[in-house]
């Protein structure tokens, strides 16, 4: 790529090292309303981002314009930005003169579905869900097909190319029955458009609505809790800063000094598993070109490691864990690829024995959590259950507690593991004890 060579040359001529990230994307998204297409959106985009390191100071800049003058300005601006940054000997461009590429047949497979067929798909999705019992309308629905490519070039000689495709379909229906109403939905992600199961989305979205329509609050007290396959990964993701080497370096990770210590129930084994190729977080290398691996985060209840990029690893005198993350617009960060929790020993009957709350929806997870302290309070809905049977739909409740304390309040861990809807987590069900519910 001629522009990349030019940019790397400018960086070198300035007496700096650095890397260039070029992200390109193409997408189609469709929404239906009252039997017709409401929105048809197509896009193609490109953005260049550079990171320069000069005198042990890093600066970043980006540009969506790709003419020579704009790219030159971007490099100059990154050099100016670096001059203001604090000196950090740990952040250097990794010495990797290698070429890496992802497998398109695995991560960006093609299919023969035409735009017209995709339009028919979203119209069918809305029509069939709208025709179901008690459905007033389907205000939120859509299908999308996104392909994103990323190329990384460094002054050390790294050339890394990745390309991924993600197709999604989702629908949420507003269901009414007398003075009761509810809005619930379902969705699915896939690498190929023809793998989307519209019938299942319609069926599941409608079933979710009817199941919760007549939900009521339960009395305020402490309950045993089982999060469903969506909510449990949400809980772990919300507090994922606890595994961040970057947050530890920045002095805001409460687990910074607890590596090797018991922080959870001894039966809990949690991994970052980028090599599970069924997941959308599958990755062979990170954004620094470092190889990834299955990384134990919690082993038998002990905090096994934090995740690192090359800079945070160097800061702590460790090796990178292959979790370097950067976009064209951002500085170097760390990022988990996908959660995996090891199977437990409890059979389904044991997990669901006696009374418990199954939580199927959490709201306010972006605002009601404090990862520094571990405290949270979320809106929730789900079902009061007994011996595996749903005996009452539950709405308008809150669930509150401290996530770091909850990791020590694990009653049972199931044997069977499930992927979440977005295929970023592979976990068994966990029964947590003694969680505060307000109703």
């Amino acid at each position: 790529m001629e522009a990349a060579e030019r940019i790397l040359q400018w960086i070198t001529e300035a007496g700096a090292t650095g890397d260039l990230m070029v992200a390109e994307g193409a997408s189609l998204s469709l929404k239906a309303r009252d039997g017709d297409l409401e929105e048809h959106k197509v896009s193609s985009s490109q953005v260049f981002g550079v990171r320069v390191i000069k005198d042990d100071k890093a600066g970043v800049a980006y540009s969506e314009a790709s003419d020579n003058a704009a790219l030159r300005l971007m490099v100059d601006q990154a050099l100016i930005n670096a001059s203001y940054a604090r000196r950090d000997v740990n952040e250097q461009v990794p010495d990797k003169a290698i070429t890496l590429a992802t497998d398109d047949s695995l991560l960006a497979p093609t299919d023969d579905v035409s735009v017209e067929e995709k339009i028919d798909t979203v119209l069918r999705l809305e029509r069939e869900l709208a025709a179901r019992d008690k459905v007033k309308n389907v205000p939120y629905n859509g299908v999308s097909d996104v392909t994103a490519a990323q190329r990384i070039f460094s002054t050390a000689g790294l050339k890394a190319t990745s390309r991924v495709r993600a197709c999604f379909s989702q629908a949420a229906a507003l269901v009414e029955d007398g003075d009761k109403n509810v809005m619930e939905g379902w969705g699915q992600g896939a690498r190929r458009f023809d793998e989307l199961d519209i019938d299942n989305i319609v069926e599941t979205a409608h079933a979710n609505c009817l199941a919760l329509l007549h939900g009521e609050a339960v009395p305020t007290k402490h309950y045993d809790i089982i999060f469903d396959t969506q909510c449990q990964p949400t809980m772990f993701s919300t507090f994922s800063m606890m595994f961040s080497g970057k947050a530890a370096k920045d002095g805001i990770n409460p687990m910074r000094d607890k590596v090797g210590e018991a922080i959870a129930d001894a039966r809990l084994n949690l991994f970052d598993s980028p090599l599970l190729d069924e997941g959308f977080g599958y990755a062979l290398f990170d954004d620094e070109g470092s190889p990834t691996a299955r990384t134990p985060l919690i082993a038998n209840g002990n905090l096994a490691t934090l995740i690192h990029n090359s800079a945070t690893a160097s800061h702590f005198g460790l090796q990178t864990t292959g979790n370097g993350a950067r976009s064209p617009r951002s500085t170097l960060e760390v990022q988990l690829h996908q959660f995996e929790i090891g199977s437990g020993e409890a059979e389904d009957d044991a997990i669901t024995s006696g009374e418990y709350l199954e939580l199927t929806d959490l709201t306010g997870t972006h605002s009601g959590a404090n990862p520094v302290a571990g405290d949270f309070s979320f809106g929730a809905s789900g079902f009061l259950c007994r011996d595996g049977e749903r005996i009452q739909p539950v709405r308008n409740i809150t669930v509150a507690g401290n996530f770091y304390e909850m990791l020590n309040k694990i009653g049972l861990i199931g044997q069977t593991r499930y992927w979440d809807m977005n295929r970023h987590a592979f976990m068994p069900r966990i029964r947590f004890s003694d969680v505060a519910i307000s109703g």
């Binding site: 017709d36 790709s66 809150t398």
Partner: protein
């Protein structure tokens, strides 16, 4: 940013394919973001976004595409691809472009490209850091940020509109962590506006640092919050996020047109306690959520949403007005050229009343004083919402007892509007970012202190 002849050829092409309406939205967005950590500059980031959004409308069907390229051929290709299933003979004519410069009611001096210096912002952030750390040796970490943005937009439509505007945004913040060795807690403070870096003359580094550390120290001493239904006094300023989420989003034609709002058929009806008056106003000088023109080129306005408890208006963009029959309100907004515009809030607030905060507290036997609110979300179809309390206090027998942590308020929009029984006289505004179908846009929320007689408080006690 785009020459008129290119815009003309693309819009002519769209109309020749039978579109009822065509629009080009050209955006150049320049940003600079300074972050501090541990009393040092952590990073300075900058960049330029540039792109063109192409909107073609057939009836109420919206076709939208975008690109980073400016060539007529590429823009026409997008139009052709979007219109492929709707081709028909032309049904309307393209009007001649009539350029109108906006009335600039938010003039900025020290803009990102003129007069704003990195050194001055760094000095501000490091002073706030020093003030926060000086408050207590329990302040273990601070993180500062100053984001400045210059967004230039140009709009062409098949109705002959040709408008442009430059929006200068700035926002500075500091967050602090307090630690006692066993526990940690956080506090923060931020301010911003549609203004240049001259805002530093109005926002005070002393106040930024002291407020962030004060809140962190209060939260470090907080106890678990009681749970259950009880009266809550919601503090001024960012407390207005509840009205924004619980009611404001339900008044956008984005939800109303789909009948996905519980208020869609209640115009003219009493939807709130008669003490409630609410406004969405894009004209407030230099406020964070203000604009000169919306992202469809219409001059902004002040819209009375609720008067004496009665619903008086919805917020309508062009397509929303077409779908619902309500007048446009200059509320068509979008995050960037990557989004089609939708009806969105600007500066949204409950107007001040005459009650005193002390009287509200005194009237409570057992409840919560939520002096500072965090974010939340709402489900428009049912009106169900949730909000986090970032600084709160338990109240018993009319007196504040102790700070509480990890509390959330949940209810529905229709219910909470009718439970507001007292409206205070201590009105304040606060800035935030609002996410919805057309992306994240700057919005201001506001209110005086309010007393809500009955709401569910989720705590951990």
């Amino acid at each position: 940013m785009l020459d008129t002849s290119t815009a003309r050829s693309v819009i002519d092409h769209a109309i020749s394919l039978g579109a009822d309406f065509a629009e080009l939205f050209i955006e150049r967005n320049q940003i600079n973001n300074i972050s501090t950590l541990s009393s040092e500059v952590q990073a300075v980031q900058s960049g330029i976004d540039f792109g063109i959004g192409v909107r073609v409308v057939y009836g109420t069907k919206v076709l939208y595409g975008y690109t980073n390229r400016t060539e007529s051929d590429e823009l026409c290709r997008i139009v052709t691809e979007l219109s492929a299933k709707d081709l028909r003979d032309p049904e309307t004519a393209v009007a001649r472009f009539d350029f109108s410069a906006p009335n600039d009611i938010h003039h900025a001096e020290q803009t990102l490209t003129k007069g704003s210096e990195v050194e001055s912002k760094v000095e501000y952030l490091l002073k706030a850091d020093r003030v926060a750390r000086a408050a207590s040796n329990m302040i273990s970490q601070t993180r500062g940020g100053c984001l400045q943005r210059e967004q230039s937009v140009e709009i062409f439509t098949s109705e002959g509109l040709h408008a442009s505007d430059i929006r200068n945004y700035i926002r500075a913040s500091l967050s602090a962590i307090a630690s006692n060795g066993a526990e940690q807690a956080t506090g923060s403070f931020n301010d911003g506006g549609l203004i240049g870096w001259e805002i530093h003359e109005a926002i005070d580094a002393e106040k930024t640092g002291s407020e962030a550390s004060r809140q962190a120290l209060v939260n470090l001493s907080a106890k678990a919050c009681p749970s259950g239904r009880m009266p809550v006094v919601i503090g001024p300023g960012f407390g207005g996020v509840i009205f924004h989420e619980a009611c404001g989003h339900l008044l956008e034609t984005t939800s109303v047109a789909k009948k996905a709002s519980v208020f869609h058929d209640q115009l003219g009806q009493l939807i709130a306690n008669p003490v409630v008056n609410a406004v969405d106003d894009g004209t407030m000088a230099k406020e964070w959520g203000s604009i000169n023109i919306d992202d469809e080129g219409m001059p902004t306005q002040r819209t009375q949403l609720i008067k004496n408890g009665q619903l008086t208006s919805f917020l309508a963009d062009r397509v929303g007005a077409q779908q619902t029959g309500y007048d446009r309100t200059g509320s068509g907004r979008r995050q960037s050229y990557k989004f089609a515009p939708a009806s969105r809030m600007r500066n949204t607030f409950i107007e001040p009343g005459d009650a005193k905060l002390d009287d509200m507290i005194t009237s409570i036997d057992r409840g919560i004083y939520a002096s500072h609110m965090g974010g939340g979300s709402v489900q428009p179809g049912t009106g169900e919402f949730n909000f986090a309390v970032t600084e709160g206090y338990y109240v018993e027998n009319g007196k504040v007892q102790y700070p509480v942590k990890a509390a959330t308020l949940i209810s529905t929009g229709p219910a909470v509007l009718k439970e507001i029984s007292m409206v205070g006289n201590d009105f304040a505004l606060a800035c935030g970012m609002c996410g919805s179908v057309s992306g994240a846009v700057p919005t201001t929320v506001g209110q005086p202190s309010l007393k809500v007689d009955d709401i569910l408080v989720g705590g951990n006690a």
